[in-house]
Structures are given as C-alpha cells and as structure tokens.
C-alpha cells in the first residue's frame, strides 16, 4: 500500500474544471514530482490534498485513511506538511518564531529537539534566528518555509515550487537539501516548473497537462523522454 493514494481527483474553481481526474501514488521514502506548465493543476492538486481546496470527486488516502474533507489545520497532526507556493513565511515574526509556529501542534520539549535538526539542515537559519523573517533573502525565506514545514515532523512533505524566483546557485542548494531530507526518511511530493532539477532528484514523476496526467515514469526516464524534453526542458 502506498503512503499517499490519489484517485480520480476532480477540483473546480467555480465553473473552471482545474483538475480533471488525476490519479497517482507516493510510496514511503520516495521523492515524487508533479511537473507541468503554468495552470496545469499542480498546485491545485497539492492544495486539495492539504485540505485548502475542496474536491468535487475522487479520493485521497494517506496511510490508509481517507483525508478528503479534513480541514487544513488538522493535516499536520496526520503527518502531512505543505510548504506553500511563494513561501508565505510570517514576515513580521522572527525566524525562531516562524519555526515555533511550524511546531504549533507539538510540545515545546519536542520542538527543542526538532529545531536543532532543522538548524542542522539549514545552518543559515541558526545565524538569523532572531532576525525578522521579512528581512531574509528569497533563498533564506525558502529555507525557512521548508524548515517551518519540517517542524511538525511530517511523514510526507509537499513542496510547492521551492525554486521559484531563486538564483541558480540557490536552486542547487535547495534541491540538495530536499535530497538530504529524503535520505533522512522524509517522503517528498514536489511540484516544480523547473522540470530538469525536479526530475534529476525524483524517484518517480508525473507530467500534468491542463488538469490531466499525460505521462508518468521514473525521474531519469522522463529526463530522457523526447516529448518531455521538448515541452519542459527546452529541447
């Protein structure tokens, strides 16, 4: 049984049919990526799994339990964390306070341990612990958003466009951190427009086009796939 099983998911924005019957699975320990152009339904899919958007049809099972209709604020306790598009750190709070919010559902004692782990992955955050998050650079804010999501000790972390707006060198850094998080046992569901980076670290990948999955395979296979190369990797 897979950790996450999405089956025939349909999501609407008003009358717009944004996700049209998407099905995929994520196994424990994997990095799975959803790639596709703007508006393909990638973020919508993640937001629906996270309980932010309602689904019209279909099912989502996480560790054997149906989670459609569970409100977003109960997902952390179930073991799912979403690191949202655009980072959405609390800009008027310090780095430390942001991390504390990430561990909102856990006790202070548990958080004290987890914070050390997070600083281990992101040493730069420790240096800036008492700085207000709004003053961090884009890359640091992304690290903070990921660290904050990790504070809930999720079994599955969903990352929505972690490379957005970052310099190439930072993109490399962020992806190597994602890889190391995964090596430490966190299952990753990654949504990316930077398809080549995403495919290079993913175990498996799904290609979305206008709300449907049009291709799936291992990361390395899709990296060599002619259609994928033409459409998403610039030739």
């Amino acid at each position: 049984m897979s950790m996450l099983e999405v089956n025939d998911l349909h999501v609407y924005y008003g009358s717009i049919h944004a996700v049209k019957g998407v099905s995929f699975t994520v196994d424990k320990g994997e990095i799975v990526t959803l790639i596709g152009a703007n508006g393909a339904g990638k973020s919508t899919t993640l937001n629906t799994i996270a309980g932010i958007l309602p689904a019209r049809r279909g099912s989502v099972e996480f560790q054997g339990e149906g989670i459609l209709g569970v409100p977003a604020h109960k997902m952390v306790r179930k073991g799912i964390a979403l690191c949202p598009e655009g980072r959405r750190v609390f800009t008027q709070m310090t780095v430390e306070e942001n991390l504390q919010m990430g561990g909102y559902t856990r006790t202070d004692a548990e958080n004290a341990d987890t914070v050390e782990d997070v600083y281990g992955h992101f040493p730069r955050l420790r240096e800036r612990a008492y700085q207000v998050a709004g003053t961090l650079s884009g890359g640091e804010q992304q690290m903070l958003a990921m660290g904050r999501a990790l504070m809930g000790r999720p079994d599955l972390i969903m990352l929505d466009e972690p490379s957005m707006g970052l310099a190439p060198i930072l993109v490399d850094e962020i992806f190597s951190i994602i890889k190391s998080l995964n090596d430490n046992g966190t299952t990753v569901l990654l949504v990316e427009q930077n398809a080549s980076m995403a495919l290079s670290i993913a175990d498996r990948a799904y290609v979305l086009e206008t709300g449907r999955i049009v291709k799936e395979g291992s990361g390395s296979d899709l990296l060599r796939d002619d259609d994928v190369r033409r459409a998403y990797l610039g030739g």
């Binding site: 604020h73 008027q92 709070m93 919010m101 990430g102 909102y104 650079s137 884009g138």
Partner: protein, 293 residues
C-alpha cells in the same frame, strides 16, 4: 497647576480609550473587520457590574469579574452567530452586520434596563491623593484607571510576544492561509481574539462608568467611536499604536476642553486625527513591513 490636573485627567481618560482601542485594533488585525459593536460591549460591561453591585449586593470586585466574564462570553457568542458565517463575505457586509449588532445590543439594553440613566456606584473606595498642599488632587479612580491600562498593556504585550497562543494570533493576523498549514485553528483563534477584546471592553466599561457615573444604553457609543479614532490615530492593527493613540487622544480632548472650548473639544479631537492621517496615512505607529535586504 490646572495644566497638570488637565494632563492627569487626560492620561486617565486616554487610558480608558487605550483599553477600548486595543480591542478594536486586535480584532481588526486578525479579522480585518471594524467591529462597530465594540463600544456597546463596554455598555454591557457597565450594566453587568452595576447589577452585580446594586441588585446582588456583591462587592465591586465581583462586579468587575462578572462583567469581564459576561462580556467575554458575549464576544464569543456575537462572533460565532454574526461574524463567523460572513468569513468569506465582502467586508461591507461584515461592517453592516457590526452596525446591526451595535443597535441590537443598545436596544436589548433599553428593553432590559430602560432608558433612565443609572447612577453607577464607584468602583474604588480608597481616598484621593492630595499633592502640593491640596492644590493637585488625583482621584483614586484616575490612579486605578492608569494602572489598569498599564497592566493590560504589559499583559497583552507578554501574551503576544511570549506565548504560543499569542504568537499564533500574530501568525493569523499576517497570513491565515499559512497559519492553518501550521495546524493553527484559525476560526478558534479569531474567536479568542474577540473574547479578549470583549473582556477588555468590560474593564473599560467599569472604569469609564466609575469616572463618569451615569449609565444609559448609549453610554458606549461615543467612547467607542473615540477609541476607534484612537486606534486609527495610532495605526490600526498595532497594539502599541492603540495604546499611544488612546492616551494622546485623551490628553488632546481634555486639553481642548480645558483651554479652548468644551463644545469644540470633539471637533478638535477629530481635526487632529485628520491632520495626522494626512501626514501619516498609516497612523503614528502604522505597521511598516520590513524591506528585503
């Protein structure tokens, strides 16, 4: 000496405005709505305290506690029944609802307690402080009011900066979507802010009625509007701003009454507000979002 007296009275009145303004500003910060019924919660607080002392014969302190508990509950109920269903509605709908709640509370008070002004029993019984051979008299209620405001301010600051609940409140004020991803129950947090704001309004109600001891169903309206002005003056959404705005507004009002004209004092207060907003549209301590570096 009259200047000093006016200044002290101004600070005292301003302290009441500050406590009310804190409720406005916290609710605005998290729910992004102007709770125009906030002033009427003050009035309810006043009546609750009045009834406890007058009809139940309990000491004033019991009246204060009952007023706080009652108003806190009222805040939660009003939020749950009137505002929560409108969470996704346009802000104009919420604003009109708030005005409706305001009228509802005023008219309910009219039904229950009638239109006749009630003489409010003084909340404090220890004597006034006389300084400079009796030239400067500071009423005990003045001292209690200022102390209460300072205490409330310190408690709120500690609450929002130190406790997990308080930080969650700030997180919700900034980004509700991100806050719920942290596992924060945004709806419950908003209810809690209404509860705190209404509890503060009850304290303000008792203090206000002790200083100006007549109680009618519209007692809360004018202080409510003044405190709202104070919150905007200081920068709405900012807790220190509400305190500063409240105290300044109180001082300006009493100074205007003492040295210019009693009739014109309100006009002067709102005139100053207009000037401040022309120069600093976000209010004195309006939130500055830090720049990226």
């Amino acid at each position: 000496m009259s200047f000093l007296t006016a200044l002290i009275n101004g600070i005292s009145l301003g302290s009441v405005y500050a406590i009310i303004a804190l409720g406005y500003t916290m609710v605005y910060g998290i729910a992004k709505m102007l709770n125009f019924a906030h002033g009427d919660v003050i009035m309810v607080g006043g009546y609750l305290c009045f009834c406890t002392v007058q009809y139940l014969g309990l000491p004033t302190l019991a009246g204060v506690i009952l007023a706080v508990v009652g108003c806190t509950a009222l805040g939660i109920v009003v939020e749950g029944l009137a505002y929560k269903p409108l969470r996704q509605a346009p802000s104009l709908a919420v604003l009109i609802t708030a005005i409706g709640v305001s009228y509802f509370l005023q008219n309910s008070a009219l039904l229950i307690w009638g239109a006749d002004p009630k003489a409010f029993p003084s909340a404090v019984s220890f004597p006034s402080v006389k300084l400079f051979d009796g030239q400067l008299i500071i009423n005990s209620i003045t001292i209690v009011t200022v102390l209460a405001a300072v205490l409330v301010m310190v408690a709120l600051t500690l609450f929002t900066s130190r406790t997990k609940m308080g930080k969650a409140m700030r997180a919700c004020s900034e980004d509700k979507g991100a806050a719920q991803l942290m596992g924060i129950n945004v709806d419950r947090t908003i209810s809690m802010v209404f509860a705190i704001g209404s509890g503060l309004a009850a304290i303000a109600g008792v203090l206000l009625c002790s200083a100006y001891p007549t109680l009618t169903p519209t007692t809360g309206s004018m202080p409510g509007i003044k405190a709202f002005t104070a919150a905007v003056f200081g920068g709405i959404g900012s807790i220190p701003g509400a305190a500063l705005g409240g105290v300044l507004l109180g001082i300006i009002e009493i100074m205007a009454k003492t040295y210019i004209s009693t009739q014109l004092s309100d006009a002067i207060v709102f005139g100053v507000l207009i000037i401040v907003l022309l120069i600093k549209p976000a209010g004195l301590l309006g939130k500055l979002v830090p720049e990226k570096v």
